[in-house]
Subunit: 195 residues, 2 copies
């Protein structure tokens, strides 16, 4: 059975859990508390030298990190990776953008509030500014389309981006002015059976 | 003919150029000076709402951003994307890691020196510290293997990571203590014909 080493509060870890749930795969969850340094112990670094969660360990002992790489590996041959080459390229564009231009702001602002216990005033203004820029980009990208990659169904781009977008309010982001995003969150939760 | 909108000093843009050169594809290069805001003009945002370079525009007018997504699209059906599912997963792991844990430090330190004209003392110590951590991770990952994804030949992981690693010294990083990386840089340059 596959094992996920992860922190249940982390969107990057939840993405992988939701994917396995949607695929109907059995797995074991090993809780790693990143706040107490559990992802940096010698034992964990042996498993994943990147020292990051989620890390997935397959039955044969091989380990894979990077949430979006894990999703792409698990979802091979499923409709969540479009068969159309262009739609697949747009899905990948969103997946890389998520890790570079969304997660470092939307997730990190939430991290400072939820994990580190900072007040709204203590969160770096740059995080809020860039987080809102990322949300504005998504809002525009969802105008007139149901799914981020632009096709007829949900893809990994939707799963990856929903992880931190659905809890953006916990980082202090107000989604009131983002109706496309709010509708899309419900659609993605339905498509993947996210509670 | 395909058009690359890019900045020739940017490793993210050069990756795409090297890929097209290696594939023997013709393309047009449109210089975008990010320092003077050319990637944020209304005209450019119409082309790429992400406001980032590189952006590739195909003959039919469709545009694609995110360097590693562009590489994955261009290299479909080539040996630079391994046919083995596990090797492909490890390639993807490195590609996402590059954008999250390497580029934001190694490339940004270089940006501060080369583009913004800062002295070594003016570069944020955190960038150097995390940049060296990324280089140490690569050095360990290259122990006993020729290529990052662990297979018998170069993959997109090598191309993506070499872009900023080969110019890391311009950001003040000393590769003297990283012999695996130094050997690997030469191998990757040869494999892709990088001058």
């Amino acid at each position: 059975m596959l094992t996920i080493h992860g922190d249940i509060r982390s969107g990057n870890c939840l993405k992988v859990k939701w994917m396995l749930d949607a695929l109907g795969c059995d797995y074991q969850w090993v809780a790693v508390d990143i706040m107490s340094g559990e992802s940096r112990t010698p034992e964990f670094l042996l498993l994943n030298p990147f020292g990051q969660v989620p890390t997935v360990v397959f039955e044969d002992g091989r380990a894979l990190a990077q949430s979006n790489a894990i999703l792409l590996h698990l979802a091979e041959e499923t409709p969540w990776i479009p068969s159309d080459a262009w739609e697949r390229a747009k899905m990948l564009e969103w997946l890389f953008w998520e890790q570079y231009s969304h997660e470092p702001y939307v997730a990190v602002a939430r991290f400072q509030r939820v994990y580190a216990g900072k007040s709204a005033d203590e969160v770096e203004p740059r995080l809020m500014e860039r987080g809102y820029a990322a949300l504005a980009r998504m809002e525009a990208g969802l105008a007139g389309v149901g799914w981020l990659a632009g096709g007829q169904g949900a893809t990994l781009a939707d799963l990856a981006l929903v992880a931190y977008t659905r809890v953006a309010h916990e980082g202090g982001f107000d989604l009131a002015a983002y109706p496309n995003i709010r509708d899309w969150i419900g659609r993605v939760e339905n498509a993947f059976g996210i509670q």
